[in-house]
């Protein structure tokens, strides 16, 4: 097998047994790698009746075929499982340094089941795979754990770590790499915690990767790295970070404010934008493995209530979810909130969104002080919000415990009327891009995304922003964000390419600069897939379909492809004020184009067979 190693580590934490499993080459060719390969593995081997936090639940880490190949943006990794936050199939992507280390150790992935009787961490090094006691690490923050593992295994060991939030089953607990990069979404830190697995540490071996055409790949890599390095996107993100366009986004109504109740706040845009961070607290920039963009921020806040030592800084999603969304334009507070979330192992998007829901519920007298243990939440009161995070992470008190389940579950427990204050898709809190201003196609993309409210599962966000188009497949429409025109077709293209990106584990910033023919060349020179553009896009479509089938088996149907009223009602101010999203019309057209059954929400048997998925078709259509 070229590119991929073809091998995964299987661990049963109950028995402590480990095994090496070889995967069929067809899995790779048909489902690419990363989240697509994880979905296929689960489809073949998973148990759909298992609770996400039960011992038998399966947690899958999977690389893409390009990990470790010294190509900008290509060394991210995926984690996938049934999400404890949504109850649906979920996956999450992370940059950083873990995926290449796992590849150099000789593996494409790790599949974990069972629950250890006591806390453990998993050691992977050239001598083998070992479970080690983690009693002394349990309860520690992510950076403390990372430091302890590096002290024992050397500073070049790469770690995946959960914090107290994962240990306490917070349903949006994340998994941190090097205490700076996050598998942020859908709560997989809680899955690790439920298995008593505190961390995974890899000391890379020196496995050489076999490539289909090493010389051609070397030439291509040189070209692509140069393209990414010289791109305007790369330059802007490197200089100003992922919040570079925040001010422009505010101007367009893309940035949700005070729990999505407002779409314009000019001073906030100026206060929180990437430029402002560069001028105030930025002390350095960091990059994921082999990336020439370096969009990661390093910050220090010297004094005041939100002082933080030099270390990882907030990216766009954190800045908005702990800024505009909570009615704050205090940049220092976003630095502090991001750091506290990282240390505790909390997803910043869901954490900020859940606090925003609680604040509105309290303002509307729907959340009593009895439920909040006397705590008052006020827009912009960042000290209170940040002070609540450790209580959430440790499920302390009734309020911390309520918020630890995420906004949708908390709303259901609080009162059905408070569901009106949630902004999510399929239970996953929406990211910090408001489709009403950012682009109506994004509403469709959020709604039909298998994992729920997600801006990186597809390429719709950059397509509507104008940052990418695909002339090679005759998709060169100039998309106008605030209409539904051409969006169903755009959503099809975005779903296919998004599935390829997330299966190849490629960064969405870096791969903007790579054309579709270059994508094909990458897969062919590395993995020898012998693809053309059409067959590559078919693989992307196949991955999208498979994730729909997984959700179907969890009971999701077409009715779940929707958004709550808060995200669809016309904006009250700013650029998108009063504009209605024609959601149902876009969804119906998308279903037609994708061949999805209007009730079940899955592809018809004929469509599945066309995509070489007859076995899958039999399972869902004969059930």
């Amino acid at each position: 097998m070229f590119g991929n190693t073809g091998k995964i580590i299987k661990i049963d934490l109950e028995s402590g047994r480990t095994a090496i499993e070889s995967l069929p080459e067809a899995y790779y060719r048909n489902f690419i790698g990363g989240s697509g390969l994880a979905a296929k593995y689960f489809w073949e081997n998973g148990d759909f009746g298992v609770d996400p936090l039960a011992p038998a639940a399966m947690l899958i880490f999977m690389n893409g075929p390009l990990a470790g190949l010294r190509l900008s943006g290509a060394s991210r990794g995926s984690v996938a499982a049934r999400s404890p936050l949504t109850g649906n199939w979920g996956d999450s992507s992370c940059g950083g340094y873990f995926a290449p280390a796992l590849r150099y150790a000789g593996f494409d992935g790790i599949v974990i089941t069972g629950r250890s009787s006591s806390p453990v961490w998993l050691q992977i090094d050239p001598t083998g795979v070992t479970l080690r006691a983690a009693d002394d690490l349990w309860g520690q923050t992510t950076s403390e754990t990372d430091r302890a593992l590096k002290a024992e295994n050397g500073r070049f060991c790469r770690t995946l770590v959960i914090g107290p939030a994962g240990e306490h089953g917070v349903r949006y607990a994340n998994i941190m790499n090097e205490a700076h990069h996050a598998f942020g979404r859908a709560g997989f830190g809680a899955v690790m915690g439920s298995k008593n697995l505190k961390a995974i540490a890899v000391n890379a071996g020196k496995n050489r990767m076999q490539l289909a055409d090493p010389q051609k790949f070397a030439d291509l890599r040189r070209t692509l790295n140069q393209q990414v390095r010289d791109s305007i996107t790369g330059m802007v993100l490197g200089e100003l970070g992922t919040a570079a366009r925040l001010e422009y986004g505010v101007c367009n109504g893309d940035v949700p404010i005070r729990n999505w109740t407002s779409s314009f706040w000019e001073e906030m845009g100026e206060a929180l934008t990437g430029d402002a961070l560069s001028e105030t607290y930025l002390t350095g920039r960091k990059a994921c493995a082999f990336c020439s963009i370096a969009c990661k921020r390093v910050v220090r806040v010297d004094d005041g209530p939100f002082a933080v030592a030099n270390g990882p800084g907030p990216e766009y999603e954190t800045i908005v979810s702990f800024g505009a969304l909570l009615g704050s334009m205090d940049l220092a507070a976003t630095c502090r909130a991001g750091r506290v979330c990282n240390e505790l192992g909390l997803d910043t998007i869901s954490a900020g969104a859940t606090l925003a829901w609680a604040t509105e519920a309290m303002h509307k007298q729907a959340l009593s002080e009895e439920k909040t243990a006397g705590m008052r939440l006020q827009w912009g009161d960042m000290q209170t919000y940040i002070g609540l995070l450790p209580q959430i992470a440790r499920r302390q008190g009734p309020f911390g415990n309520l918020l630890a389940d995420g906004s949708v579950a908390a709303a259901r427990k609080t009162g059905e009327q408070t569901l009106a204050y949630t902004a999510h898709s399929k239970g996953l809190e929406a990211p910090m891009h408001d489709p009403r201003g950012g682009g109506h196609g994004l509403a469709l993309a959020y709604a039909v995304s298998p994992r729920g409210g997600c801006h990186v599962a597809t390429t719709m966000l950059p397509m509507e922003a104008g940052a990418c188009y695909y002339p090679e497949i005759d998709f060169d429409l100039d998309l106008e964000p605030m209409t539904g025109r051409d969006k169903p077709l755009a959503a099809v293209v975005a779903a296919e390419i998004g599935a390829i990106e997330n299966s190849a584990c490629f960064c969405q910033f870096a791969d903007r600069e790579i054309t579709l023919p270059q994508w094909v060349d990458l897969f062919n020179t590395v993995a020898g897939y012998d693809w053309n553009i059409r067959t590559m896009l078919r693989a992307g479509r196949r991955v999208f379909y498979l994730k729909r089938l997984l959700n179907f088996r969890y009971g999701r149907t077409a009715a779940d492809d929707t958004l709550p009223p808060r995200m669809l009602e016309p904006a009250r101010d700013g650029e998108p004020e009063g504009i209605q999203i024609n959601f149902e019309e876009m969804k119906a057209a998308f279903y037609d184009l994708m061949g999805l059954d209007p009730q079940k929400g899955i592809p018809s048997r004929e469509v599945l067979e066309t995509y070489q998925m007859p076995a899958e078709a039999s399972v869902v259509w004969e059930a």
């Binding site: 330059m235 100003l240 104008g466 100039d478």
Partner: protein, 146 residues
């Protein structure tokens, strides 16, 4: 052949009037001057050049920057090259600046991040530009829709 401008002189006449207003505007002018850069716009069809100096003290009282029509000796921090017609539509708010760069309709160089910061600042002028054309007696140059 430009759809909107007869020649270079015509273009300079329009932008002279427009930029004078923008750089005097009490809300927009101060925000523009905070960019602290020199921008050169290079237009094709008709070939022309406009430099906006937001770095040096303004040459005229009441303005927040200085602009120069035609070639000038100032060394720009950032440059942007596009057709005059594209620029004309941009100032109506009908061109997505990000898409224009992605599709190669606009070429840029230098300190692009500083230019990016100006995008939200100049957005309010999109309503003003068609008004300027009408005030100048060029109602036929107003672009009605995308």
């Amino acid at each position: 052949m430009s759809e909107y401008y007869r020649d270079q002189e015509h273009l300079y006449e329009v932008y002279n009037y427009f930029l004078e207003q923008v750089l005097r505007d009490e809300k927009i002018g101060p925000k523009m001057s905070r960019a602290n850069i020199i921008i050169k716009f290079i237009y094709t069809d008709p070939e022309s050049e406009i430099t906006i100096d937001l770095k040096s003290p303004p040459a005229k009282e009441g303005m927040y920057g200085t602009f120069y029509l035609g070639p000038c000796d100032l060394k720009e921090d950032v440059w942007s090259k596009q057709s005059a017609d594209h620029s004309h539509r941009f100032w109506h708010g009908f061109e997505n600046p990000i898409a224009a760069v992605t599709r190669g309709k606009v070429k840029q160089g230098g300190k692009i991040t500083a230019m990016l910061k100006l995008l939200p600042v100049v957005k309010p002028t999109f309503k003003r530009f068609p008004q300027v054309l009408e005030e100048m007696g060029y109602a036929e140059m107003v672009v009605k829709n995308r």
